[in-house]
């Protein structure tokens, strides 16, 4: 499954202004993998993704894209290889779905190459793949959260990059839409052969969809590898401080984390009537 890494962070020190998030952090994204990064809040997983996507410049170390320093490559060339779905994007007032998805073609366009047949085809395909084709002429600000997220994914797809990074793509979505988005990611990975890197909060989702799992804590990689090997009760305890049992997911056979109860179940099922005095 894992070939040479296409995206490689080497000895990264990541920091915002004065706050250092990670030091000497090294990660490799195997080619053709669906890599998922997990870890507790503020462990540096989104920061790592930003560094890999070159929206955050590391204070030390290098990010290598196909073996070359990503900051030394022309920005547009990188944008044809590596796409990013950030946690938050802004849909301009009144923009339609089709117009927004079309903006994903920017790195393939120029002053005299504004809308090729290829652009048209890819935008239509991206909207079809994410199930937003019938929304094409609707303003994005009228859509539901789940629809909107699919539109942003369609825009990232229209960029046609073999590598796609997704920063918490399921946040703000209800459980059905979370599964829908993750199924879509799995299809992109399996059917289109894209290499995906996603930051996810839900351990169950991570274990179910990832082919390569990276568990982080305090800016360090604690474990990485196939989720069936990585996700153990000890690891969950170490990374999240959560006592749990691991059972087999009856649907997929992947590890399913069942948190331990912290206190015995209360005996009374009915609400108590508090006597008034």
């Amino acid at each position: 499954m894992s070939g040479n890494p296409r995206l490689d962070g080497v000895g990264l020190t990541l920091a915002y202004e004065r706050r250092v998030v990670a030091e000497e952090l090294s990660v490799a994204v195997p080619d053709g993998s669906f890599t998922v990064v997990i870890g507790p809040n503020a462990c540096g997983k989104s920061t790592l993704l930003r560094a890999l996507a070159r929206t955050l410049r590391p204070r030390a170390g290098t990010v290598l894209l196909d073996g070359r320093d990503i900051h030394a490559l022309p920005s547009r060339a990188v944008a044809r290889t590596l796409g990013l779905l950030p946690q938050s994007s802004v849909a301009p007032d009144g923009i339609t779905v089709a117009d927004l998805v079309a903006r994903g073609r920017y790195p393939h366009q120029g002053l005299l190459r504004q809308w090729s047949r290829e652009d048209e085809r890819v935008v239509a395909e991206s909207m079809a793949a994410t199930g937003v084709a019938e929304l094409a002429d609707r303003p994005v600000d009228e859509l539901s959260g789940g629809q909107r997220q699919r539109v942003w994914i369609a825009m990232a797809l229209a960029q046609q990059t073999p590598l796609l990074l997704l920063d918490e793509p399921t946040t703000w979505l209800d459980v059905a839409h979370q599964i829908e988005v993750l199924d879509l990611c799995a299809r992109l990975h399996e059917e289109q052969g894209r290499t995906l890197v996603a930051v996810l909060h839900d351990l169950h989702h991570a274990a179910r969809y990832a082919t390569h799992l990276i568990a982080m804590r305090d800016g360090r990689v604690v474990a990485e590898g196939d989720p069936r090997d990585v996700v153990t009760a000890e690891l969950v305890q170490e990374v999240f401080g959560l006592p749990c049992r691991i059972v087999e997911d009856p649907e997929t056979g992947t590890p399913l984390v069942v948190p331990a109860t912290r206190r015995p179940r209360l005996p009374q099922a009915r609400p108590r009537v508090v006597p008034t005095s």
């Binding site: 920005s75 044809r80 938050s88 802004v90 007032d93 903006r103 994903g104 920017y106 190459r113 504004q114």
Partner: protein, 341 residues
């Protein structure tokens, strides 16, 4: 959307509605321009104006049109376009619908420069120069205080508002220091006026516009990406920091040169791009439509300023505020009635 493709793999794409708006505002600017040149103490018919402009007028007509009225019109067109472009750039790059050079203190900085000359006494050329220096200096000051990473979003806005507050205070103090006659002249200049503007104001303005308009237009597509957020724009291959640096610099220069030519005319920079967007209904910075809308707005305002009250000319800045503001409020109200917001 209309697409034109050539055999060589080249393609152009535009919105028919945007094209209609651009053509319409351009036509309107020409019509208003002919009316503006024809009006005044020596009235001329549109036919006379066109005949004189094409070189067929009498010596008197040549003088009135070529030396008095045409430079005023050109200044109005240029100031409108410069302010509108500046406003469109600031709004887009700060992702703030209220963003404009007025809001971040550039206009007030230009006013301070001009007022210093009024208080110390100086020619109108010195006044223009000082306004330009004041605007540019304020831009550099904001950049230094906000820091190179602070050019995005709220930090720049807050620093700009702070600088604006300080400069407004300084401007008030300068006005109280000026002798009464000079203070009256200063207030007129502060409102924004096109009275007595000649080629000395129009030519430098046109020069700056000739250089900066292509720069801003070339950045239009990148700006449309920055609208989506810095991270998304970077992911799409836009060098966001450099785009901001260059285009905000251009916006400061455009606003300063406009203030140097006509004084700190209010509200055009803020309104023009909103009007253009309402008209084209297109997302993105709508740069060409905004620039033309700004030109139309300023020429129309100057026409009203010259004709509204008989025997008395209003400063154009009074009218841009009233006209632009009313139109914007009306448009928003009309949209609300139509069930949109």
């Amino acid at each position: 959307m209309t697409v034109l493709r050539t055999a060589g793999g080249r393609s152009l794409r535009w919105r028919p509605r945007s094209l209609v708006v651009v053509a319409g505002t351009a036509l309107l600017a020409v019509v208003l321009g002919v009316l503006a040149v024809g009006g005044g103490d020596y009235p001329m018919s549109p036919a006379d104006v066109l005949r004189t402009l094409t070189g067929g007028g009498s010596a008197a007509e040549e003088f009135i049109v070529g030396e008095l009225r045409l430079p005023r019109l050109v200044t109005a067109l240029g100031v409108g376009a410069a302010l509108a472009l500046s406003g469109a750039v600031v709004q887009t790059l700060l992702r703030n619908p209220l963003g404009s050079p007025d809001m971040v203190g550039i206009t007030q900085g230009a006013a301070t420069g001009g007022l210093v000359v009024v208080v110390l006494g100086g020619s109108s050329l010195a006044l223009s120069g000082a306004a330009l220096v004041g605007g540019l200096g304020t831009g550099l000051l904001i950049r230094a205080v906000a820091g190179s990473r602070g050019l995005a979003g709220h930090r720049l806005v807050l620093v700009g508002i702070g600088v604006m507050a300080i400069l407004t205070g300084v401007n008030g103090w300068l006005l109280t220091r000026a002798p009464l006659m000079d203070a009256a002249r200063a207030v007129l200049w502060l409102t924004g006026s096109l009275d007595g503007r000649g080629w000395a104001q129009a030519v430098p303005l046109l020069g700056v516009l000739t250089v900066l308009t292509p720069v801003v237009l070339a950045g239009g597509r990148a700006m449309a990406m920055v609208e989506l957020g810095d991270e998304t724009a970077t992911a799409l291959g836009v060098p966001v920091a450099r785009v901001r640096q260059v285009l905000l610099g251009a916006a400061v220069l455009l606003a300063s040169v406009a203030a140097a030519a006509a004084g700190p005319v209010s509200f055009v920079a803020l309104t023009a791009s909103h009007l253009a967007r309402r008209l084209t209904r297109a997302p993105g910075p709508n740069l060409v439509a905004s620039a033309l809308t700004g030109s139309v707005l300023l020429v129309a305002a100057d026409l009203v300023a010259q004709r509204a009250l008989t025997g008395q000319q209003l400063p154009v800045g009074v009218v841009t505020g009233v006209l632009g503001g009313t139109y914007l409020v009306w448009l928003l109200a009309a949209r609300r009635r139509a069930g949109r917001n």
